[in-house]
Structure formats: structure tokens, C-alpha cells
């Protein structure tokens, strides 16, 4: 079933500038796999070779971070919206 996926600016160039795209899937993992299949430029930027989320990416189903749900196994329906955002971190460590 189609699920809306909201893309961060850094990934939009791989989707012809679209802010939101619609892809098929019944779990977060299926949606992300379909997303990369539709937009191969995103390959390696969201999940690693094993399909696990990169630590520098946060994925949400509606308001909830999927790491606090069932990660890529989290079920989604057509009424859910997925959001992908970069993890934002840094600091003065080592200085």
C-alpha cells in the first residue's frame, strides 16, 4: 500500500527535488527498500548493507522515532507518514 515519505533537503536532489514521495510497503523496512529502488541515488544513505538504519539518520512514523518502536520492522499503513531527517550532532570534543 502507498505510504507518504517526507524527505530531508539532503535527499531531495535524488528525487527530482520532491519534498514528499509515495512508495509502497507495509513495514518501515519495505518502504525504505522501495524508496531506494525508486531513487537509487539514495542507496547507502539511509540503511547499511544489512538493511539496518544508519546511526546518522532518524526515521519517524508520524511523531515517533522508529528506534523506539520496532525499527525497520515497524508496521505502517497508508494513513501513516514516514519522515526521514538527518541526525544532527557534533561538539567541541577533542579540542
Amino acid at each position: 500500500m502507498p505510504v507518504q515519505v517526507h524527505l530531508p533537503t539532503v535527499l531531495r536532489s535524488h528525487a527530482d527535488g520532491a519534498k514528499t514521495v509515495s512508495v509502497e510497503g507495509s513495514t518501515v523496512g519495505e518502504v525504505l527498500t522501495a524508496l531506494v529502488a525508486a531513487y537509487p541515488g539514495m542507496s547507502g544513505q539511509i540503511t547499511d548493507d544489512s538493511g539496518a538504519l544508519h546511526k546518522f539518520v532518524n526515521v519517524y512514523v508520524n511523531d515517533d522515532d522508529v528506534r523506539y518502536l520496532s525499527a525497520t520492522a515497524t508496521p505502517v499503513t497508508t494513513s501513516d507518514e514516514l519522515s526521514i531527517l538527518p541526525a544532527v550532532a557534533g561538539g567541541a570534543v577533542g579540542v
Partner: protein
């Protein structure tokens, strides 16, 4: 160039001062085409540390939605350096998430806060002009 209104500047610096002794962080909403930062989104620092920061992902999600709902985007991130100059650390460079963003550093090392802005792409740091605007 980053155009920073006085109110956004002041909210940003105030959030960093309130966060002491830890690093504070937040996001900037605005127009990516002009580099105008029009909204300051203070966020939690999940790292709760004087040396590193992690923008609270839920704060990021809500800031992103608010910016988009107002026809804007998140165009950058700011954070404080509590005891060092306003220059990106190796950690900041390594973890910079988006080459289109503005990376603003607020140094609280000296009595007067120092605000500087950078672009970070492919590991290269380039300082940019910060233009203060009315508002």
C-alpha cells in the same frame, strides 16, 4: 552568506547562555535560496554535555514541520562552544549532515558571545559572512 535578524540572533545566544555549563543547540528556519534565517528553533541537547551535542530528534521533527508549514525550510544548525572559539571542531565537520546548511557557532569562551557561520561540504570548512538584519 547568512542573514540573521536581530531577534533570531538574540534567541540563539540566549538559548546558548541558558544551556551553560553544557553545550546548547538548535535549528534555523528560513529561506535556503537567500540564506535568510527567519526562525530560531531552540532544541534539547540529548548528549547533556559540555563538549558534545545531539539535537533532540523529536524537536528536529517538529521544527522541520513548522518550517515547512510556513513555506520555509531548516537551513542550518547552531550550537555553542562553551570554552573554545567559534570554529567547527573535527567532530562538527565529520558529522555535518547537509552541505546546503549553514553551521553557526556561538562561542561563550569570552565575556561577549561570538557568533560565526560556516559552510561544511565534503569535509571542507568555509567561513561565511553573517549579515545582521532588522527584525
Amino acid at each position: 552568506m547568512l542573514a540573521l535578524s536581530r531577534s533570531v540572533h538574540d534567541q540563539m545566544v540566549a538559548h546558548c547562555l541558558v544551556g551553560l555549563p553544557e553545550e546548547a543547540c538548535g535549528l534555523l528556519g528560513g529561506d535556503p535560496a537567500t540564506g535568510e534565517a527567519l526562525t530560531c528553533y531552540p532544541t534539547g541537547n540529548l548528549a547533556s554535555s559540555a563538549k558534545v551535542y545531539t539535537v533532540d530528534p523529536r524537536d528536529h521533527l517538529f521544527a522541520d514541520r513548522d518550517a515547512e508549514a510556513n513555506g520555509r525550510s531548516i537551513i542550518g544548525v547552531f550550537h555553542s562552544h562553551t570554552h573554545t572559539e567559534a570554529y567547527p571542531s573535527p567532530t562538527d565537520v565529520a558529522q555535518a549532515p547537509d552541505p546546503s546548511w549553514h553551521y553557526v557557532l556561538v562561542s561563550l569562551r569570552d565575556t561577549e558571545p561570538v557568533v560565526r557561520s560556516y559552510r561544511i561540504a565534503d569535509g571542507l570548512v568555509t567561513e561565511e559572512t553573517v549579515r545582521m538584519t532588522a527584525g
